[in-house]
């Protein structure tokens, strides 16, 4: 019997690549949902147009879920990086998730997989060195996309308590790097001279894009209710990461850096600079043990994932 899984946010990196991977599975039909039709749709993925920001998105989703007899939903319709349109981001990420939750309940879909991020724990000086899944989600008050995810996670947790029939999996990957992945963070790390915070050198954690997809694939195919951090083993200080890539560090006193609103890498996020730079100031490393037990240990450690991304970048510069 064929199962059917729906993926929201088909045009996001994770949505597209996860759809490609799952479409290779036998006995599985895939429905990809997004606002616009993606270019280069993977074979075996059926596209349906849904705009999660519309008030009638819930009803449209219920129709699709019923018609296709959807057995699982993978919710990945989040911004890859913050945009200056704060209202729009909120409408899509938080309210869009709410519409989706209503539709999942309305259509009686038994499984939901939510893609979140370890950024929801927030960078705080009083964080323990390893944040477990039970740690309160404090986010960062100046990072609006992180706040949207925190709110979404709260909505999902409340909703899940009221709908025990649906088993909910939440995956929280840390910053993703890899040969093909790109977002505001990788753009910042790709600069040849990287501004850092003078006097701070936090331990960072990265995961390779393929390892992250592995975890999502296994979570989508198996049955793993609960919350999991998806992180690579090992931590590396920011300065070591940058030096290994042969980059120049530009240590700037934090009060000065926080005033450089127009700094090129930060101007497009719509946030105050703290919303990003505090993640390079304090610790927010997550404990991955529960995820490794459920989905297997990642192939790349933090350092190897970073080196893979850097060497791909180097190769790209040769013509």
């Amino acid at each position: 019997m064929t199962r059917s899984i729906a993926i929201t946010g088909l045009r996001t990196f994770l949505g597209r690549r996860l759809a490609e991977r799952l479409s290779a599975q036998p006995e599985l039909s895939l429905i990809g949902l997004d606002r616009l039709r993606p270019q280069g749709l993977a074979l075996g993925v059926e596209f349906r147009e849904v705009d999660l920001t519309r008030p009638d998105a819930g009803a449209a989703l219920v129709d699709i879920f019923h018609k296709e007899d959807v057995q699982g939903v993978v919710h990945l319709a989040f911004r890859r990086e913050p945009s200056p349109d704060l209202e729009g981001d909120h409408e899509l990420e938080t309210i869009g998730s709410l519409h989706l939750l209503h539709a999942v309940a309305g259509a009686g879909v038994p499984r939901l997989l939510l893609g979140s991020s370890t950024m929801v724990y927030g960078p705080h000086p009083d964080n323990p060195n390893f944040l477990t899944e039970e740690h309160p989600l404090r986010g960062h008050r100046h990072a609006h996309c992180v706040q949207n995810r925190v709110e979404t996670e709260r909505l999902v947790a409340d909703w899940s308590a009221r709908h025990p029939a649906c088993s909910v999996t939440v995956l929280r990957p840390c910053w993703i790097v890899g040969p093909t992945y790109g977002d505001a963070v990788t753009r910042y790390l790709r600069r040849s001279t990287v501004p850092t915070l003078l006097g701070y050198d936090p331990l960072l954690q990265l995961i390779h894009e393929e390892d992250c997809l592995d975890a999502f694939e296994r979570a989508a195919l198996g049955h793993h209710p609960g919350v999991y951090n998806v992180v690579a083993p090992g931590v590396v200080p920011l300065s070591t990461l940058l030096r290994r890539a042969g980059k120049r560090l530009l240590p700037v006193p934090p009060p000065l850096l926080y005033r450089l609103r127009a700094y090129p890498s930060q101007a497009q996020t719509g946030d105050r600079p703290e919303g990003f730079y505090d993640y390079l100031r304090y610790l927010w490393v997550a404990d991955g043990r529960r995820g490794w037990e459920a989905f297997g240990r990642p192939l790349y450690s933090t350092r190897e994932a970073w080196m893979a991304a850097v060497s791909a970048e180097r190769m790209r510069s040769y013509r």
């Binding site: 390893f130 006097g199 701070y200 331990l203 590396v236 200080p237």
Partner: protein, 321 residues
């Protein structure tokens, strides 16, 4: 915009320059006695590249890049070992008593009295154990929250084995077979004024004992005498400290009078005295939840550390001898 023709012109000019350099430098090479190769000469580009690479490697060497999961960098520890050894042996003439009572085959929770603003006591204690039982047994010392927020201090302490004091961290360290040095007096201990320097403050809320019982590791009481004289706090100033985000600003005989020099510790004589591991009931999952037992053991531990402090004071003849 440069046309392709311009580029050819440029490379031609550069080629000419290079040939000229080689012709003139050919004689230099003959004097230094290197095998002369009239065709090659000194390849300055390669030389500069080579030098840059070597300096780059030197730069890399100060950071090995291999930190463990709590940020300890063996390379940093190796590089400061000489300085730390000097401080311990020559500057403070540290005397170590009762080291044979410390188990060297398993993780241990050391509980020590705390004094001094900078965590010299934790650093020296960790170093003493690492010297005696090998680098693999180097304990991590827990550091107070307010030090964590300070720029420069936090990364440096983390590379040297300092870990933020919180139950999650200590538990993770102990369950992964790494010893921990805890200072249950906390900031109260660091802020002791000079007249109370040998009197122990309340031991938190029994967190250290609870952790040891839960992780089933021995609790070793330790007295560190001398750290309070390294930075004797005459009195505390609070108003200007708040503006800087510090809990208080210490006034010592040297700080702030001598400026940054005042951060140098005084050469008091140190005594580190280890006690016998505390007798705890046999391990069971319930012992850590028994609040009365935890409170009783915490008080026992405090009394034992206080006794060790008195004993250590008897070993010293004076503050500096």
């Amino acid at each position: 915009m440069s046309a392709p023709g311009d580029r050819d012109l440029w490379s031609e000019a550069l080629g000419g320059l290079r040939a000229e350099l080689r012709r003139r430098l050919g004689s230099v090479r003959a004097e230094t006695g290197e095998p002369e190769d009239p065709e090659a000469g000194v390849d300055w580009v390669a030389l500069v590249d080579d030098l840059r690479r070597r300096f780059g490697q030197l730069g890399m060497r100060e950071r090995s890049g291999e930190v463990d999961d709590f940020g300890l960098d063996p390379e940093t520890i190796r590089s400061v070992r000489g300085a730390l050894g000097f401080l311990r042996e020559r500057w403070w003439r540290t005397e170590v008593v009762g080291l044979e009572q410390v188990p060297d085959d398993r993780a241990v929770l050391f509980v020590a009295n705390h004094s001094g603003l900078l965590p010299w006591d934790g650093l020296v204690l960790a170093d003493t154990i690492a010297m005696a039982h090998g680098e693999a047994r180097r304990p991590r010392f827990l550091i107070a929250d307010w030090l964590i927020t300070l720029p420069f201090v936090q990364p440096a302490l983390a590379r040297l084995g300092g870990v933020r004091a919180c139950p999650e961290n200590a538990e993770r360290l102990l369950t992964t077979e790494r010893s921990v040095v805890a200072f249950p007096e906390g900031v109260k201990g660091a802020a002791k004024s000079f007249k109370d320097r040998y009197r122990l403050q309340r031991f938190g809320r029994g967190g250290a004992v609870r952790l040891a019982l839960a992780a089933d590791v021995p609790l070793v009481p330790v007295a560190i005498v001398g750290a309070e004289e390294a930075h004797p706090i005459l009195f505390r100033v609070e108003a200007p400290a708040r503006a800087l985000g510090l809990p208080f600003l210490p006034v010592t005989p040297t700080f702030p009078w001598l400026g940054p020099l005042g951060a140098l510790p005084l050469p008091a004589k140190w005594v580190i005295s280890f006690g016998e591991p505390l007798a705890t009931p046999p391990h069971s999952p319930d012992t850590a939840r028994d609040d009365l037992l935890v409170a009783r053991l915490t008080e026992e531990l405090r009394a034992e550390v206080q006794r060790l402090v008195k004993e250590a004071l008897a070993i010293r003849q004076g503050v500096f001898t």
